[in-house]
Symmetry: C2
Subunit: 205 residues, 2 copies
């Protein structure tokens, strides 16, 4: 009899959050479909029935891991991006931070949102919808910040904001693929430093 904080039955023998982090790592490295439930269980240190009791099923586990990933890795960079008053600095810093995340020494896998659910069988539509939604959210983040830069007079009023946001988004997504292809972080950062140039040239601002 421990305390009464936990429910009645037999207590869970694993830490749910630790297990989720382990699952995240497997999904991140291998992608949704190549990550078998057996491999997930092995990495999480639990058996299949525990996984299903705690997380529902494979796709629900993936989506929960995906949200955890987004929160853990990208919420602060996004905040800094939106908080930086100068649009050029904001873009430059964000892409340098991104290059660090995409090839951080412990998880050199590119971005999970971009890469983990590209080749997906048609049944798992909820999964591909989840990553798609997050990719659109990133593009919207770019668009919102650019729009503010127009209002601030830092970008020309006739700038094509949707196209520019899309271009920044494409560049960011492409960095993920090259991260996965195994280049050095220094190279990725050198590429990322060019993101700034996608903005209309300073003369026009």
């Amino acid at each position: 009899m421990r305390s009464s904080l936990q429910g009645k039955g037999r207590p869970r023998a694993f830490d749910r959050n630790e297990a989720l982090e382990k699952a995240l790592e497997v999904f991140w490295r291998q992608g949704y479909e190549p990550a078998s439930v057996a491999a997930l269980c092995s990495a999480m240190g639990i058996n299949a029935p525990s996984l299903y009791a705690s997380f529902g099923n494979k796709s629900a586990l993936f989506i929960e891991a995906l949200d955890y990933y987004e929160q853990a890795y990208w919420s602060k960079p996004a905040e800094r991006f939106l908080g930086e008053p100068d649009i050029a600095r904001a873009v430059e810093n964000f892409f340098l931070e991104a290059a660090e995340i995409l090839l951080s020494p412990d998880t050199p896998c590119g971005c999970m949102v971009v890469l983990a659910a590209i080749n997906i069988s048609s049944e798992a539509r909820e999964v591909s919808e989840a990553v798609r939604r997050l990719r659109f959210a990133t593009k919207k983040m770019f668009a919102d910040r650019l729009q503010r830069a127009v209002l601030d007079g830092q970008l020309a009023a006739d700038a094509d904001i949707p196209a520019l946001a899309g271009a920044l988004n494409a560049f960011l997504e492409g960095l993920s693929i090259q991260a996965r292809d195994g280049i050095l972080q220094a190279e990725l950062k050198a590429m990322a430093s060019h993101a700034l140039r996608l903005l209309p040239s300073p003369e026009a601002r």
Copy 2:
């Protein structure tokens, strides 16, 4: 007894090249692993033993389809890119052509090289190596053309060619993901038109 052009045994009842094109379409739309041999057979109009007799196995069929794709869709744009004397025109035209290919009305799937074999189980290493090799080849194409622009005096001598080539490559790869995410071709072209800006600004040239 037809002619003696064909071998001795029972003649093949299908056109090998047509079957390859059908397989290409399935791999392109679905990706390597979600494309089951059964689905491939169905699209190709043949049974599994015919597939294995003609193409070896699934991975060999994919690689052959991949090479066919590269040749059929990208060899001419690449030639034009390398043949255009003005670097700015070369980049601008190439990315507009790319946007058209990525969302051509009959195959609105993004680029097969970029998207078809991202989530791959570790056994099919030959497949992921094949697409990786082609992605590197594209980056090298950018680097070679940019290097020539330096020699031509169209780019500053101190330009960081590898980083610039990587940036163009990242942008191109990112366009594929957005193409897959279902935007309109007009939007994709508007984004693609910004590729030009990744080059060092005209003042520095």
